[in-house]
Structures are given as structure tokens and as C-alpha cells.
């Protein structure tokens, strides 16, 4: 067990994979100076500028070229800088990378990790704050991963690099510096949720940084004698339906929370799936951003946030419903 930050955990995974496999390489703007969030610092010194490659400001080419290099036998890690800029490479990701293996009848593979730092980061405004994970879950051919902790950012990054499918890897910008214990012997598994806290009363489902807020909410609920089970999905495709259904079968109550816009967010998939399977003790709750835009002014920005308090309040409401 080593203590390290969320950023360093991913970096360690990348470095280990690069040491083990000379075909693994990273490409993105400014990587030679460590990347915009310093998540690559030191790597160019070890691996050189060919394998920690700078790139022109050409997101479409970064994505497209990495794909071509993947088809030619390398395993690229693509850095998109901000998830928002990845929208400049949507055709490449969705029409090309996700579909090629199938369209070509299985002749090709795209073993790529596509890193997209996501989410709100104080006063970054509407073009630097988006959470679009539900988009990628909707696209066949893509694996989607949203780690919330240093442990998962280490283990899932390793799994993503090892995986032969293209993995959309969404790291949350607000937790680069968060520290935690990392056990490098634990394997990352897609479709395997983490039970961040066990409980009998209500199931809180989330991913990415909001999973951390759910843990905080559970702590507060515990003070009121409510035992919440916190499920961190970690990967959204595949997602651990079984863990959610098993938990909700036990608790009968469900709160799904995410930072993304609530409408047509992945929370809807979770709630719909549960609702199609069982009847709950209280109506399920979805928490997400209003369908509005993320503002620069902090007081406005905060109105778009889901907080631990909101999650705790929603959980309590599901508890009170029964007694009503």
C-alpha cells in the first residue's frame, strides 16, 4: 500500500505499462512539459519524446492518428486535455474508433485509452466543465470508465491499457490532488462496482467524484442512524447492474447521484433498470445538474452542483416515505 494522489496513481499505472510494453505510448498537447494538469510530469524524462509525444492543437488528428497507430499495432493513450475539447474529435471517436472493428468484420482492433478530464473545476465556465459520460455509454463499441479514487485510477488505468477495446477514461479534474492508499496488487475490473460503504437502509449509486460525495453523505446519514450503502460504479459500460440490484433488493430505496445534467444522464439508466426489475419501498431519486449551463461566477456555478447534503437529504426523504 502506497499513499499517492489520484493524478499520480494514474501516472504510475501508465509508467508501469510503458515499462512492460514498448508499444504503449501517450500523445497529447504539452505532454512533454507534464500535461496541463501535470499528470504526465517526469514521464518524458523516462520514456523520451516519441513515447510521451507532444501534439499540435489538433484534437481530431490526435484521436484519428492514435487510432491509425492502434490499427498498425501500437497501444496509444490519448490525452484530450479537457473532456470538452474531445468534442472536436467526435467523428473520430464515435464513427471511426467505436465502429471499425465491427464494420470491418472483426479484422481490426482499437486498443486505446482516451483520457478526458471531466467535470466542474472552480470557475472554468461552460466550455471547460462538462460531464458527458452518458453520451459514451450510449455508443456501442466503447468501454466507459469514471474512477473516483486513487486506487481505482491506478487499477482501472492499468486495466484500460491492457484492454483491446477503446476505453473512454474520464478522470475528474477536481480530484487530481486527492490522496489515498493504493494497493498495486489489486486488479481493476470493468463492470465491477466498489461498495464504498455497506449499509442496509438505502442504496446510494454514483461514480466519479460524486461517489466521493456519496461517501460523505453516508457519513452524515450515519450520524442520524441511517445506514446507507454506497455503490461506486467505477465503470459505466459495462456497469455492475448486479451490485445495484442486489443492494436495492436489500434496502428497497435508491438514490442515484451524478454531476452531469440530470435529464438524459446515466442516472436515468440506473433508475429505469431498477424500476423495470423491482418495486421499491420509496420512489427512487435521481440527482444531477439542472438542465442549465455551468457559469463562471462561483455562486451561480454552485447552483449546478450536487452536494453531499443534497444526497443525504434525498436519502432521508426515501426513509421518511415509508413512515409517511
Amino acid at each position: 500500500m502506497v499513499r499517492m494522489t489520484y493524478a499520480d496513481a494514474a501516472k504510475l499505472a501508465v509508467a508501469e505499462a510503458m515499462r512492460a510494453d514498448p508499444t504503449v505510448w501517450c500523445v497529447g498537447e504539452d505532454l512533454g512539459r507534464g500535461g496541463v494538469f501535470k499528470q504526465y510530469t517526469g514521464l518524458v524524462e523516462e520514456f523520451g519524446p516519441k513515447r510521451i509525444s507532444d501534439a499540435p492543437i489538433s484534437e481530431a488528428a490526435i484521436m484519428g492518428a492514435a487510432f491509425g497507430a492502434a490499427m498498425a499495432g501500437t497501444r496509444p493513450i490519448v490525452e484530450m486535455r479537457f473532456a470538452d475539447f474531445a468534442l472536436c474529435a467526435t467523428d473520430e471517436l464515435v464513427n471511426q474508433i467505436a465502429k471499425a472493428r465491427f464494420m470491418f468484420g472483426g479484422q481490426s482492433r482499437a486498443p486505446m485509452v482516451i483520457r478526458k478530464p471531466m467535470g466542474m473545476w472552480r470557475s472554468s465556465a461552460a466550455q471547460h466543465s462538462q460531464s458527458l459520460e452518458s453520451w459514451y455509454v450510449h455508443i456501442p463499441g466503447l468501454v466507459v470508465c469514471c474512477p473516483a479514487t486513487p486506487q481505482d485510477n491506478y487499477a482501472m488505468m492499468k486495466a484500460a491499457i491492457a484492454c483491446d477495446d477503446p476505453v473512454v477514461y474520464l478522470e475528474h479534474k477536481d480530484i487530481w490532488a486527492t490522496e489515498g492508499e493504493v494497493d498495486t496488487s489489486l486488479p481493476g475490473r470493468f463492470g465491477k462496482a466498489g461498495i464504498r460503504r455497506a449499509g442496509m437502509d438505502v442504496t446510494l449509486v454514483s461514480w466519479s467524484n460524486t461517489a466521493n460525495l456519496c461517501v460523505q453523505a453516508a457519513d452524515r446519514l450515519a450520524e442520524d442512524g441511517i445506514n446507507a450503502e454506497v455503490i461506486d460504479l467505477v465503470s459505466l459500460w459495462p456497469w455492475d447492474k448486479r451490485a445495484v440490484l442486489t443492494s436495492v433488493k436489500k434496502t428497497g430505496r435508491l438514490v442515484v447521484a451524478h454531476e452531469a445534467v440530470c435529464v438524459a444522464g446515466f442516472g436515468a439508466e440506473v433508475v429505469a433498470t431498477v424500476a423495470q426489475t423491482m418495486v421499491l419501498k420509496a420512489p427512487p431519486v435521481r440527482l444531477g445538474s439542472p438542465r442549465g449551463l455551468i457559469a463562471y461566477a462561483p455562486n451561480l456555478e454552485d447552483q449546478m452542483r450536487v452536494t453531499a447534503d443534497m444526497i443525504a437529504a434525498a436519502a432521508k426523504k426515501t426513509m421518511e416515505f415509508e413512515t409517511a
Binding site: A65, A72, Q96, Q107, P140, F190, G191
Partner: protein, 331 residues
């Protein structure tokens, strides 16, 4: 190109390739129009066969090519099996993509043909990346990327050429300029011209007649040899003409009256090469035999495709991805 140094064997080989492409597409067109066997759109390269033939001739089997929606010719020239291609056009089992892709996504990774593409221009950055992969892996293969004149108006043209220039990648970009972007005259929608764009992006650029297979093959041999040696990208602008419509069902009424007829009469690359071969002393009958052999091959390919079964139903869920099942699991 004087007849003194005209190589008859090479000429006959080129003719065979061009006739095979032509025959493949004529048969495919018939299969579509007369028999409604081809269900999706197909884009014919009739009249453009010299570009695929000449440019691919100097390539090694382990060199890569990438193509467009109009990719039958490139794919055949790179050595793909015509029968597997025809089955693909008919969406049958045994198609080179298992019937999943059809004409617009035809591919033969065994021959290092990394796919046609349904999105105009999208193959340009991907091709640059394939060359990037070669360089990272220390290989000595090269990549050839074909695209149309219309593709030069899409962003990936700039981003892909710049990428190849910045990273010094072994790739030849070939703009197969057939004048049209679907029903639009490309020059009406283009400011400046394509070759100048490539030059401004730092790539040595050659402009050539795309319907003169003999001269173009010599040019392509030089360029590809240079790329293999220097490892640096180049650009080839080949002027040609699409004798057919944009798709097989396009009557192409947007063209000036008589334009296509005149081009067919005066600029057909196959007729031109036949003329050169005759001048070089090859008998007309021998040339006809080349055509007949091609036609026979493609007729047989269609017969095989017609008789082939539909792909197995379960195959639709294969090759999507390793992780995560496409079908909902029940709990």
C-alpha cells in the same frame, strides 16, 4: 513516355488490374440495377482505375493503404479477393467484412488495406496515424491514403497532413481529383487549390495526369521509393474523372451535357493503355482476352456471392467489443 522504354509486361499487368476493377464495378452495378442484389449505396470508380493501379503497383504487400467510400479499385489493386468483396457488397457470409460493412466499409487487413470509410476525409488522420505506428514500431513500410477532391475541404485534411509533416511520417497522400463532390463541382466550393494546400503544409507535392497509368506508375514508383528512403510524407494530386454517377443510381444530370461522353471517348484510362500496348505491338486479341478474363472472374464472383447465404444471425453480436455484452443480461 516514349514507346522505346515501354514495358509490355508491366503494361499488360496494369491493364489486367484496371480491367478487373472495371469489370468488378460493372458487374456490381448490374447486380444492383438488374437484380437488386446490392442493397446499400455503391460508389463506382469507373474512369478512375489508373490511379489505384499505378499508385499501388510499387507497394509491398506489407505496406498499408486506406480508402474512401469509392474504394473498390484500391482494394482490388492491393490484392483483395474479388469474391470476398462481391459477397460483402451483397451482404453475405464470406464477405470480407462478414457482411457487416458493405461497399462503404470494405477492408482487407490481410492485404493491409485498412478500410474504406463512409465519412469523407476521416481516413486522412487515421492514415497519418498508421504511418505514425510504423515509425514507432521501427518498421520500413509506408502508407498510402486515397481521398477525393471534396475531402480537401474538410478539417482532417489540414490536421492529417500537418501531423505527417510534423512527425516525419512515411505516407503518401493521394488526392484523386475527379472534379465532383457528389453533385457539386468541387472547384465551385474550393478556394485556392488542393496541391497548393499540400505544399503550404510542407509536403513535397506532385501533380499528375491520373488517367495515364503508364506515366503515373513511373511517378508513383519514384515517390514511394523516396518516401521509403526518407521516411517523409509526400502528396500526389492526380487529375481524373468519374465516368459514372456519384452512386450507381445517380443519373448525374448536374454535369454539363456531353461532358461524360467526351471524357469517356477521349480520356478513358483503359482505352489509353490499350492504345499504348497496341502501339507496342501487342495484339488486340490479347488485350480483349485480358478484359474477358476479368469479366469472367467477376461474373463468377457474383455467382458465388449470389449463392452465398446470409451471415449467421449471431454474428451481429460478435466483434462489437470484448468487454461488456451488447445484449441485456437478465438478473
Amino acid at each position: 513516355m516514349t514507346l522505346t522504354n515501354f514495358d509490355r509486361e508491366k503494361g499488360l499487368a496494369r491493364l489486367a488490374t484496371m480491367e478487373r476493377i472495371r469489370a468488378f464495378e460493372e458487374v456490381a452495378r448490374r447486380a444492383a440495377v438488374d437484380e437488386a442484389l446490392v442493397l446499400g449505396a455503391i460508389h463506382l470508380s469507373i474512369g478512375q482505375e489508373a490511379v489505384a493501379t499505378a499508385v499501388i503497383e510499387p507497394l509491398r504487400r506489407d505496406d498499408y493503404i486506406l480508402s474512401t467510400h469509392r474504394g473498390h479499385g484500391h482494394t482490388l489493386a492491393k490484392g483483395a479477393d474479388a469474391q470476398a468483396m462481391m459477397k460483402e457488397l451483397l451482404g453475405r457470409e464470406g464477405g470480407c467484412c462478414g457482411g457487416k460493412g458493405g461497399s462503404m466499409h470494405i477492408a482487407d487487413f490481410g492485404m493491409r488495406m485498412l478500410g474504406a470509410n463512409g465519412v469523407v476525409g476521416a481516413n486522412i488522420t487515421i492514415a497519418a496515424g498508421a504511418a505514425h505506428g510504423i515509425k514507432l514500431l521501427g518498421g520500413d513500410q509506408i502508407v498510402v491514403c486515397f481521398f477525393g477532391d471534396g475531402a480537401a475541404n474538410r478539417g482532417p485534411f489540414l490536421e492529417g497532413l500537418n501531423w505527417a509533416g510534423v512527425f516525419d511520417l512515411p505516407i503518401l497522400f493521394v488526392c484523386e481529383d475527379n472534379r465532383y463532390s457528389a453533385s457539386t463541382l468541387t472547384s465551385d466550393m474550393t478556394s485556392g487549390n488542393v496541391a497548393d494546400r499540400a505544399r503550404a503544409l510542407g509536403l513535397p507535392t506532385t501533380e499528375a495526369d491520373g488517367n495515364d497509368v503508364t506515366a503515373l506508375a513511373a511517378t508513383a514508383a519514384e515517390i514511394t521509393a523516396r518516401i521509403r528512403q526518407t521516411g517523409k510524407p509526400e502528396f500526389l494530386h492526380a487529375r481524373t474523372y468519374r465516368l459514372s454517377g456519384h452512386t450507381y443510381f445517380d443519373p448525374a444530370t448536374y454535369r454539363p451535357e456531353g461532358e461524360a461522353d467526351e471524357m469517356r471517348a477521349t480520356r478513358c484510362p483503359i482505352a489509353k493503355l490499350r492504345g499504348e500496348l497496341v502501339q507496342a505491338g501487342v495484339a488486340e486479341g490479347d488485350l480483349d482476352q485480358v478484359r474477358q478474363a476479368a469479366e469472367k472472374e467477376m461474373d463468377a464472383a457474383l455467382d458465388a456471392a449470389r449463392d452465398a447465404p446470409w451471415p449467421a444471425a449471431a454474428s451481429v453480436f460478435a466483434d462489437v467489443q470484448d468487454i461488456g455484452s451488447p445484449v441485456e443480461e437478465a438478473f
